[in-house]
């Protein structure tokens, strides 16, 4: 079973991101389950979501404590709580991070991928200029980072779930896929 944890802020579509992953994996024949952290958080407050992907039907309903992947939709969260808590040794981390900055000091037990999803979303006019919506772009990046979910499945689902600007969202994800890169720390 693969377990993924998502970090973002209230209003950023973190829950949607986890659902997109689940749906894409489902489309590829996996069994899936995704869920938010169950909170009453307000806009801007850190929120968490989760996804499980497996070959077999998923029955377990408890939370994820030791994920294989971590996705960070908002790099400013790196300042807050320990985002990498529980990540399995060798686990992978995808961070929405400005292309022109280098990652701050961070544990070297994991693999890191970055992607300037904010810039990409802005380019494609997703969300407002002030607050671009990055969840579709970041999922393009996820397809790159993981070797088990295809970018095609991801794009299909993004087209399905995006309420408006379907093409733009798909394009953003595709671009994100291409621009995601592993970084050394």
């Amino acid at each position: 079973m693969i377990e993924v944890r998502f970090h973002g802020r209230g209003g950023q579509g973190v829950v949607i991101a986890s659902e997109v992953l689940a749906k894409a994996a489902f489309k590829m024949g996996f069994e899936v389950s995704s869920f938010p952290f169950f909170g009453v958080e307000r806009r801007g407050a850190p929120v968490t979501a989760y996804a499980r992907i497996d070959k077999n039907p998923i029955r377990i309903k408890s939370s994820i404590y030791e994920p294989d992947y971590i996705v960070v939709l908002d790099s400013t969260l790196l300042k807050g709580v320990d985002l990498l808590e529980g990540l399995k040794p060798g686990g992978k981390v995808l961070i929405n991070y400005p292309d022109d900055k280098t990652l701050p000091e961070i544990s070297d037990r994991f693999q890191y991928y970055t992607l300037d999803a904010t810039a990409i979303a802005a380019t494609h006019g997703i969300g407002s200029k002030m607050t671009p919506i990055v969840n579709t772009a970041i999922m393009g990046g996820f397809a790159k980072m993981s070797d088990w979910v295809s970018i095609e499945a991801m794009l299909e689902i993004i087209r399905e779930v995006a309420p408006v600007k379907k093409d733009e969202n798909v394009e953003a994800a595709r671009e994100a896929y291409e621009r995601t890169r592993e970084v050394a720390v």
Partner: protein, 296 residues
């Protein structure tokens, strides 16, 4: 020399867990500036039940009693009775509820509190929907607005009913004092609150409270939107003291579209719909002016 136009002392702490730009946060801030520390507040389920933060966090510097969603009116009657029995008379008892908790599920106990002349101030912060549960329609949602339960569907739906006129309902209860207040006009707000505090009996304050996520608005425009509500006469500022109406701010009489266009929840409205809102607002304003005793 510069001067503060509202009292300096704060009765709220930073660190409340409301959204950035939340109007309700300001409603509380101004309210307590007007009332001071000898105040006790009852809050039912609503955004403000969450905003003090998870236990043991509290952003208020005055005592706060949580109550069941429908029970604010009963709660303040209970508080007042108990304090009276204890001989504590110089304390202002406040019921502080959202619009849903006031005009819908809390209306009955509010009405009861008014009928039994509970000596208290009831403040409704009106973000015009059930926000704590994620933007569902309330009786106070204005006609034309999108909410998650008044979706904009294929048939161009939206809220089909008029906003409940809680000021008129409270007026029908013949309470000694009711007033509308706006976060854009804190001086007026605080003056009215202080006035209410001095009057015996049940006082009702209706505060328009912009909600950036619920109104699909940029948080930086919270004050601007509130100001436009007054200037377009969508939400006139007035008070009614023993039946006498007094408009406290005439506003600029701007077109309602100025107000609506800053809010995504009205984005679907056709020009015809907007102008029907315009007419309704004008009619209400005319009626209000007619009742206005200020001049006389």
């Amino acid at each position: 020399m510069p001067k503060m136009t509202i009292p300096e002392e704060e009765h709220t702490y930073p660190g409340s867990t409301g959204c950035p730009g939340c109007g309700a946060n300001l409603v509380m801030r101004y309210l307590l500036k007007g009332l001071g520390e000898r105040t006790i507040i009852s809050i039912p389920a609503c955004c403000w039940a969450v905003m003090p933060g998870y236990w043991p966090s509290n952003c208020l510097k005055v005592p706060l009693v949580y109550s069941a969603f429908e029970a604010t009116g009963a709660s303040i009657s209970g508080l007042r009775a108990a304090l009276d029995m204890k001989g504590v008379e110089d304390v202002t008892v406040v019921g502080f509820a959202g619009d849903g908790g006031t005009v819908d599920i809390g209306l009955q106990s509010l009405s009861g509190a008014a009928e039994r002349q509970t000596d208290a101030i009831y403040v409704m912060y009106d973000n015009e929907a059930y926000m704590n549960t994620g933007i569902q329609r309330s009786g106070s949602t204005p006609w034309g607005a999108w909410t998650t339960t008044t979706p904009v569907g294929k048939n161009h739906d939206f809220k089909q009913e008029q906003k409940k006129d809680i000021m008129a309902i409270m007026q029908a209860h013949r309470v000694p004092y009711t007033a509308t207040v706006s976060v854009a006009h804190p001086e007026d707000f605080i003056k009215k609150v202080a006035k209410a505090k001095a009057i015996k009996g049940m006082k009702f304050i209706h505060a328009l409270s912009p909600c950036p996520p619920g109104w699909k608005a940029n948080p930086m425009y919270t004050i601007e939107i509130a100001r436009l509500a007054v200037d377009t006469h969508v939400f006139p500022l007035y008070e009614i003291e023993n039946g006498k109406v007094h408009v406290t701010r005439k506003g600029k009489g701007l077109p309602v579209s100025d107000y609506l266009k800053l809010q995504g929840r009205f984005a679907h409205l056709t020009p015809a719909e907007v102008s029907s809102i315009q007419s309704a607002v004008e009619a209400n304003w005319a009626i209000l002016l007619e009742k206005d005793d200020s001049g006389t």
